[in-house]
Symmetry: D3
């Protein structure tokens, strides 16, 4: 933990924002630069958002997209954009039964990070893509909504699927399960780098998610990407109107070529 | 087949409740103790049912939950609770084509068990998690509804997905397929122990299923589990209201700790 | 390319129906016999269509069904019937980044085949079941609708899931992704034989898809299959009414036996 | 348990052949007809045994072969032929930790079946292809060798791989693990039907295994199969000598055609 | 089939080099440029061949390596280098049982391509990575050896593992099986482009295989790649001697940096 | 990085033991308590080591064993025991091609940790079980041998399989590949906690590996575990001699019971 984090932790403690399940030396960052809400709005205005973002990341030589084949929205038709805050979990050493027998303290926690978050943040949790152990449930999502998170992207499983769907809070996950993470997983690091399927997320990167999947825009590229995405969106829209109007190939082909060369 | 089953089979035969595709020595149990409908009602009254049940099973050192990652509801938003009746299927030895050529008798059967069932029972079929071969289709579910089953949980695949969804009959399965089980699988045992993913089911156990997955409550724990679940549900509800009302950490933390220690 | 295709290509070129991304020697067939729309209508009239079709294919010793476990509809409740037109894709040799750097031409293409298609055709693309690379997106589906395709069946992934769902155009695929196929896949053959999971499709075969999965009816069996399917459907309907009316086993059993022996 | 088994159990008990971990009503058969050792010898004399056997099973319309891709020999270059004795295991309901805490009795057992076996038998265990839980280890194989078993085929995992390899006792399994089956699996049935990958085994069927995989020859076809296999082997040998002598296509082709038409 | 292939086919037919199971219009190329044996020798002289080749392909932005995790040598310690000849197989439409019943002609074939091959060629077959169906067995490998092939790389399974190992003929495959490809797969194309896992092979490309896996060097890069590989090998050898002699970091680091920047 | 590590890093830098590819703040520990070589010897003296260790871990309620089904030895018949030093890798954000184009520095490194290690240490690397990207090759293993490591356990893939096998240096890995980790993975942390399949490793834990798989003994349990293992080994040996001498069930059963109750 750097000196900064040390001081920030004390500041947040004084402000009543420390839940306290996770040891302070597991928190890598507390304050870090966030994108302006204006940029988030520009992203949210785009249809088929992740596909255009993925195309621009391709042009930058960046692996930044995770297919919904692997990381599915709990409800279709939702969109989520915001800076990443992160938790990385690893498995407990004791079996859950032994944990119960020994009355071990609980070492998984989403609470701790919710109260460190800023409104509009997107929680990203990395439990290695596990399909059986829950990273969060309905009550956890209630906290997330209350503190103003924009959504959660879980490289692992969630529970209380029905309650989460009913709440309208947007969640992407690898799987759904009734099985608690308590006595099973431990939050080993908060606001450090994590991995979604085969894509890396640093805290502060822009998370972008819709029905097609999830994209991670590195913080330093956020403005360039939306500018390019807006150009693509405009070109695609023109193209689509032409298509729907039954325009002949001879009219469509040059526009198509223009975009891809 | 024990003497009991022998006698019960004859009784059911006389009563016109024997369909007759499955040999009588493959039926392990016909009559067995069922839970009172009152207990089923208490389970049905709980929100996020499988997650609370899973937590209590954890405290008992019992592996009893299957994630919806592996065993999905055909329609979201449904709930199903009732005592298990079971079928275990294994693959036929002849290829389906050879079965057709030789006009083999059909050896898969859900019909036989439907007519042995009591209203409120939940059918559990074990075909080893196969994703291609159907265990039951729309017509089979029509029989299930008619005899009053509460739902079906299929460790395998089902067909006629659209008809089943339209019927409102609740089904959980590993997959969906058009391919018949006829000439492919054989009902090797009825009302014996079966396996769902990695969880064991004995006939008479309480099946509990919702959007998060499926739980199996061993018959002997059914009352203890619902009593504990009701306590959890009450505590969670209080906690959630506090969260939604924006209560500070200092108020929430002690309640959280109380539940988990 | 046979002489026929050579001549047909020139004819279509003159008619403005050649998009031109795909080399002409990769197109195996342009004109081929299609089923009469009357037969398509008879198929569309059947409930639980793929399950009955699968049963008749079984009786012919033909492997022709792909479970929805592997090839899922993007929206439930849709049905699609029509003659197959096909694209087979393989991976590009250069990495996508190198493709960008070298400004490689785009070698994937659904455009080319759309304009060769007849209204009512069903596009079948084979990208080996890949879950990450998109075969087509919202704009591509807009073209498909405009030229009158009945649907698309993608042994691979698609993108713009939300736009496709909103359009009502029926699509079955293995997965959903934001990642473009441009610089990743190449259309190596059009209107040649392709594979869906473990089932072969020749151009002109009848594709039949619903919530339970996809069936491929070889061109030469299309009439026989629907005739048998109609018989099954009638028998099933009679059986289902009896079941719903609570008919006793003694009445149901002979009908059941009749169908399967 | 039939009356036969009841009497046979008492006979074996008196003879000191009952180990006693497994309840007697879980044993389906004790005595059943075995193949003559002469037939086993004829099988053992064939090179590339499983491939020829698989070909003959194909001609009978029987699914009877499991690829070594799924069921691997622990050591290459071994061959195993003999009648099947079977164990089916399912998972315990309690977690292993709870089992330890409660001092549960051990419910897995290979001991029980070894002492019921006849020399030359092949043990087949079905634990659903699990890759983590051991079905047997070095000491268990020592018992198997002592009582004269011809080998073990494990649809699951084994442990003490090094000791088993050193002993020369032939074992095929899905995986290798250090993790005991004690407190994890229960022997639910002995000498009943079991499943290997997607192939069914009845006790008394002939197991045939080599580096290419495992075949199951149904008891009633054992003589027919070896007779056909011997014909194939002779034809193949003649063909191979011609090939190695550099015979021209014109000489080879008619022999090839003869075999396959 | 181009005019060239037409003429070459007739030439080979006259020379007794046409086996004749595969229709002539499924053969894309017969004669094509091969690498000089001198270049093959330079490749064979390199230790840890595929890793150096993979590094050079990386520097060219080419996806050309398949891990042995997916494509394993049947025997360890072998190396194989030579120009690719290719077969692509797809599944038969009829079930194998129906194929037997109808006495279908055999449509899989390695024989046809062996007699079209030149000594030193490497056979590459693409059956989509299937783990159950054999692409070739011991007798087929005997033909391969006789005509002088350098090895076979099978994106699928092989049989007669023991005979192949004994023969010393080098084979890489995804799996091992006893199950024949006859009545299961059809050779849909010879000497066209194929796919190994996720890497493309054109006939004439250089195949390079060892214990670490398989690399495909595009024909046009073969000379550049070996020249670079030889430089790497020399540098690595120097580095390794220094390491083994216990040279300090200060001496090793500059050499390491030199290679990678 | 704690103050300790800061000081230790400077000490090692002065001693010429810092390779310098990995930033100092990614190193969590440099000096930590190691087990006495005497204890390592006691472990090495046990046959079927991992199975006995796994049994004792079970009795402690600790998940500490990884099956060889998932983490295989490169050569059979080897054994490895020693304290863990750890590297955790995550994927690079740029594609490998972009890394080449931009001449990125190399961020994977085993060199850095080798020179921080003590003789007898076992390197554990965690790349999430990836089967395609190499964590280390022949030259890296040469360094490992030179500095006296006891072996490497790689939750990921390795390359130069042949050279590693020839060197006799013991390696366990998930897979084998020719593809470099350079420009693909980054060493995100050294000597922090890592995960093997589903088991956690802290630096200083005792790694124990043989043909059956890998076990992790938490540092605090190392002495207790070997003491229990020695008791088991003695009992098993006595049991095995009795078995091989043909002792009757009546003599074996009580010994068997004694061990497990």
């Amino acid at each position: 933990m750097t000196d900064n984090v040390e001081a920030e932790y004390d500041e947040y403690l004084a402000a009543g924002r420390i839940w306290g399940l996770v040891d302070r030396n597991r928190i890598k960052k507390i304050k870090f630069p966030r994108l302006s809400p204006d940029i988030v709005k520009r992203y949210l205005a785009i249809d088929d958002l992740t596909t255009s973002v993925s195309d621009v990341l391709d042009s930058l030589g960046i692996d930044g997209a995770v297919p919904a084949s692997y990381l599915r929205p709990l409800s279709t038709g939702q969109k989520c954009v915001g800076p990443a805050i992160t938790i990385r979990n690893i498995l407990e050493r004791k079996t859950p039964t032994q944990g119960y027998v020994d009355k071990e303290p609980i070492r998984m926690s989403t609470r701790d990070i919710y109260y460190l978050a800023e409104p509009g943040d997107v929680l990203v949790t990395d439990t290695g893509g596990d399909l059986s152990i829950s990273n969060m449930g309905g009550q956890s999502c209630a906290v997330a909504k209350t503190v103003g998170l924009a959504g959660s992207i879980v490289y692992g499983a969630v529970r209380d699927a029905n309650t989460i769907r009913a709440s309208g809070y947007p969640v992407w996950s690898c799987g759904v399960t009734p099985i608690t993470g308590k006595f099973r997983i431990e939050a080993i690091e908060m606001n450090g780098p994590v991995t979604l399927h085969d894509v890396r997320v640093n805290p502060g990167d822009l998370m972008v998610a819709d029905d097609s999947g999830v994209c991670v825009v590195p913080y330093e590229h956020v403005e360039h990407v939306i500018t390019e995405v807006e150009k693509i969106a405009a070109a695609e829209e023109r193209m689509t109107s032409l298509i729907l109007s039954g325009a002949p190939i001879s009219e469509l082909r040059p526009l198509f070529r223009k975009r891809y060369s």
